[in-house]
């Protein structure tokens, strides 16, 4: 195999000027929340690195992760696929089928041993020797282990791969299992959500392609840059929560005026995700902005944390029922309690967080 072409060479040969290339790097830096001087680093990375092969496997899933991925606006999914990585296997979009498709996996594993990314959408069912998912006539769990063996790193797309998601909800009849319980010896980045936000997905890929390493992760393996704060922390309706202004039901006066949806079941206070800041579909909306509470879809076992339309019973930092009612009566006093409680939780979380490499994280801070 000849020398691999770098991202920079590729886009220059596509007729994109150096000036526009650098502009792209600045935008990438901004979209990742990085300081302006990182644009230079991104440019350097893209000038010197070949496109990273990605093998994207599907287990038990619904393909919502792929659908979300192709919604990405910055960067466009098209540009990720054609110019940033080499998506050499993804059964949802690849031209080849059958033997020709499976051959692509073996070829990449041989030619890029230890250099490719394994991206996993869905999860393996382990019950009955894995026969509840048998693409190619064989248990998916075996294919997953086979491809993981020589991967540089693994991305767990969505809540299926990260936590188990809907097919793993009680009683989990197929024994659907998150991938970290099957792949033990590889770094795994979890990108939970059902599905994850498109720009979070492409942001994780862009980060890896740019810096040649995985982003800083929290204790559970999620990128800090997107999953370190709760939906509630940055929710634009937070002011109504603090002021004790709640929608009591759907389409009531409070709902029409945009009050807090906590009482109709919002899981924002216990959900770590970027929905209230990055938002969805190029910033058009996110669930709370369209009148429905957060389901908590990026959290482990959120399916068994229902019913969804009942207010949270286990608010982690203070008694939810009592507090929400007290807020209605004595708003000002409760605001103080809320802030103190949040501050306490934040401190607790920070103590728990162990990034992969503190030194690396500091450099980038």
């Amino acid at each position: 195999m000849g020398r691999q072409e770098t991202f920079y060479e590729l886009i220059r040969r596509q007729g994109i000027s150096r000036r526009n290339f650098l502009k792209f790097c600045s935008l990438s830096a901004a979209s990742l929340g990085l300081a302006p001087h990182f644009a230079g680093k991104i440019a350097h990375a893209m000038e010197t690195k070949p496109r990273v092969p990605v093998l994207w496997l599907h287990g038990l899933e619904c393909t919502c992760c792929t659908e979300s991925f192709i919604r990405s606006a910055h960067p466009l999914a098209k540009d990720v696929i054609l110019s940033m990585v080499s998506l050499d296997y993804d059964d949802t979009i690849m031209a080849a089928a059958g033997h020709q498709a499976e051959q692509a996996i073996e070829d990449v594993m041989r030619d890029y041993k230890g250099q490719y990314i394994l991206a996993v959408e869905g999860n393996p069912p382990l019950a009955e020797d894995g026969i509840f998912c048998i693409p190619g006539g064989k248990p998916f769990v075996d294919k997953l282990k086979h491809v993981a063996a020589d991967a540089a790193a693994v991305i767990a797309w969505g809540s299926c791969a990260s936590w188990g998601c809907v097919q793993a909800a009680k009683p989990n009849p197929t024994q659907a299992t998150p991938i970290h319980k099957v792949i033990k010896n590889k770094p795994i980045v979890k990108v939970p959500g059902c599905p994850p936000i498109a720009e979070v997905m492409t942001g994780v890929i862009t980060y890896y392609v740019t810096f040649g390493e995985l982003p800083a992760l929290d204790k559970q393996g999620r990128p800090l840059m997107f999953y370190s704060q709760r939906v509630h922390d940055k929710c634009y309706r937070r002011c109504h929560f603090d002021a004790g202004q709640f929608a009591e039901t759907f389409d009531d006066r409070g709902s029409r005026e945009g009050y807090c949806l906590y009482k109709v079941g919002c899981r924002g206070p216990t959900t770590y995700n970027a929905c209230s800041t990055t938002r969805w579909n190029e910033g058009v909306s996110f669930p709370i902005a369209s009148g429905h509470g957060c389901l908590g879809c990026s959290e482990p076992d959120f399916w068994d944390n229902g019913p969804f339309y009942e207010r949270l019973q286990t608010f982690p930092q203070f008694g939810a029922e009592a507090t929400a009612n007290r807020i209605g009566a004595t708003a000002a006093a409760v605001v103080g309690v809320g802030i103190a409680a949040h501050a306490g939780l934040t401190a607790l979380r920070q103590a728990k967080v162990k990034p992969n490499s503190p030194a690396e994280t500091d450099k980038r801070a």
Partner: protein, 596 residues
């Protein structure tokens, strides 16, 4: 051995066996096996769903109002269809009525999916069966421009545009890292388009990939996000507030304007890019108007959908036609009753489940789902299947039948049923296309007909989207801003036990969910979905399903290169995660069932 099936097909499995697994560019996991004769003509076809998740087992005991979120995760491609079927089933069971605006907004959400999903299917899941990406490298950009401008007024059509694109493609191919185009069937003699048409199609493949994400912003506006927007039993979750305190946080004038603008752009893209491409490509593949017909000339079904007004799901209130055609009798469209026990039934004698009596079928409200992974005389082992045994059990998909008949569902079924019922808006789309391609109406019963019907339905849906948007504005103008009826939302208001059905025409065809509620919880839940119909295995009578029937008699150039199989299977737009969801209605403990 050659056998005749009761539904009129001839099967012969004596020739060379060819296995295609995975079938790619679909949702979920599907395996197709065929036997070809000495002339490489397909004489036997076997469709195998290779996954099962058991979602409906998981639903048991949960709050019926939450069910939509669970079943929405049956499929992220036709996102929302299962959610809509679910909330309708709960409303049907509990007698909950929804406001007019909620019905209109649901229609808008649903039509948005049709526009986006059909577009993505045509370009990203199906086009590479007809378009040779590598051939596009040898196109003349100037001639490509002339071709594009002769077909459409779409502005991105200059010689420079196509030259730049071709250069990008050339350098991509030269890099040696072909990504999703790796190992494709480029240069296969079944590709018939001239290089210029290929280049134009590749340009639109990329434009459509960019544009599809715009269409679904409509779902994000009303449902908070896409994929997997939010729904609500009793209405829709997004309130309307145009002219009062707090309107900036609701469906307001700016949000409505955004919806209107996206609809206009969607109509433009579909009518100026998708439809001209479809017709241009079809004109080179007219031989496929007599290949891949399968059940389509004889057995078609549509439940009907898109209620013109709220809370009335009868056929005359639906924009999509309702009815069944059997035995090829196009002069009679039969009515459907989803609650009648002898109409929709599922069989499992060729599926990896077991019934006490596998000679009979069960209505969904009496259904059973006990896994039974018995591979019979398959070649290989249960964890390394080389070839399935179609005389035994061979799929995770059940075999649904309507009054004993295997059915084809989907855009073609809807359009043929609408056409023979004389539905004007459908005839007005079909007739000009038949005239333009110079083919008879029977050309619809084919692989090409299926693909064409989907395209026509896409433009139909985009224009209906505009109508529904105008209807929403008119109703708001008349003073109605209600979006949800919460009167019976609280479980304390519900009767002790209730049963209901919710049905939807999904992009892939007829979909229904049956729910049994007892003591405010889900007792039983069952889905029979479009791909269960189309990907169906055989039944006790030996009737074959739509995929298997459609593959028969197809000539293959080279059985090792399954391009022809992909063309016909993709023309159905398979969704296997949908197909393989079934429920144990009898309360059996699935987790304790030992699968042999």
């Amino acid at each position: 051995m050659s056998i005749a099936t009761p539904n009129g097909f001839q099967l012969d499995n004596s020739g060379k066996r060819v296995v295609v697994d995975p079938i790619t560019r679909i949702e979920g996991h599907l395996r197709i096996e065929v036997n070809v004769d000495e002339n490489n003509i397909i004489r036997n076809a076997v469709s195998t769903g290779t996954m099962w998740r058991g979602l409906e087992v998981i639903l048991r005991g949960r709050d019926p109002r939450d069910a939509w979120a669970f079943v929405q995760r049956i499929c992220g491609v036709c996102t929302g269809t299962h959610a809509l079927a679910s909330i309708r089933s709960v409303e049907n069971a509990l007698g909950i009525e929804i406001p007019e605006n909620a019905n209109t907004i649901r229609n808008i959400m649903h039509l948005t999916l049709f526009a986006q999903d059909h577009l993505v299917h045509f370009y990203h899941l199906h086009a590479l069966d007809w378009v040779d990406v590598v051939s596009a490298l040898s196109a003349d950009p100037k001639a490509t421009s002339e071709l594009a401008q002769s077909l459409s007024s779409w502005p991105m059509s200059s010689p420079g545009y196509f030259r730049d694109l071709q250069n990008r493609l050339k350098k991509f191919v030269e890099s040696g890292q072909l990504g999703p185009f790796r190992n494709g069937y480029w240069g296969h003699p079944a590709y018939k388009l001239p290089p210029e048409a290929n280049l134009m199609a590749v340009a639109h493949y990329l434009e459509a990939l960019d544009f599809q994400k715009e269409i679904v912003k409509i779902q994000a506006i009303f449902g908070g996000r896409n994929p997997h927007p939010n729904w609500l039993v009793g209405g829709v979750p997004s309130p309307i507030n145009l002219n009062d305190v707090g309107a900036v946080g609701a469906i307001n004038m700016e949000r409505l304007n955004m919806v209107g603008r996206i609809i206009d752009r969607t109509i433009e893209f579909i009518d100026q890019v998708y439809i001209p491409d479809l017709l241009a490509i079809a004109s080179f593949y007219k031989d496929w108007a007599s290949i891949g017909g399968g059940l389509s000339s004889k057995y078609l079904m549509s439940y009907g959908d898109l209620p013109k007004s709220a809370n009335n799901y009868s056929p005359d209130n639906m924009m999509f036609p309702t009815g069944v055609i059997i035995d090829g009798n196009l002069n009679e469209v039969l009515p459907i009753d989803l609650m009648k026990e002898d109409e929709v039934q599922e069989f499992v004698n060729h599926s990896w489940y077991k019934y006490a009596d596998e000679a009979t079928g069960l209505h969904p409200l009496k259904g059973e789902t006990v896994p039974n992974f018995d591979i019979g005389g398959a070649k290989g082992t249960r964890t390394a299947i080389e070839a399935v045994d179609e005389a035994s059990k061979y799929s995770w998909v059940k075999a649904p039948r309507w009054k004993g008949h295997a059915m084809e569902v989907g855009p073609l079924a809807r359009f043929v049923i609408g056409y023979v019922k004389g539905q004007e808006d459908i005839k007005a789309l079909v007739d000009p296309v038949l005239a333009q391609l110079g083919v008879p109406v029977t050309a619809l019963f084919s692989t090409l007909g299926r693909t064409a019907a989907r395209g026509l339905e896409c433009t139909w849906a985009a224009h209906k989207l505009k109508d529904e948007y105008n209807k929403l504005l008119a109703n708001i103008k008349a003073g109605d801003i209600n979006t949800a009826n919460m009167a019976n939302f609280e479980p304390s208001t519900w009767k002790k036990s209730a049963q209901g059905v919710g049905f939807v025409e999904a992009p892939r065809g007829a979909l229904a969910h049956w729910i049994d509620i007892e003591d405010k919880k889900i007792k039983n839940y069952q889905c029979v979905v479009p791909t269960t119909w189309n990907a169906s295995p055989r039944d006790p009578a030996g009737k074959i399903g739509a995929y298997e029937a459609a593959l028969l008699d197809t000539p293959m150039h080279d059985p090792n290169l399954p391009l022809e199989i992909l063309r016909t299977i993709h023309s159905f737009d398979p969704c296997l995660a949908c197909a393989t969801h079934v429920l144990d209605m009898e309360g059996n403990e699935l987790t304790s069932v030992k699968v042999r």
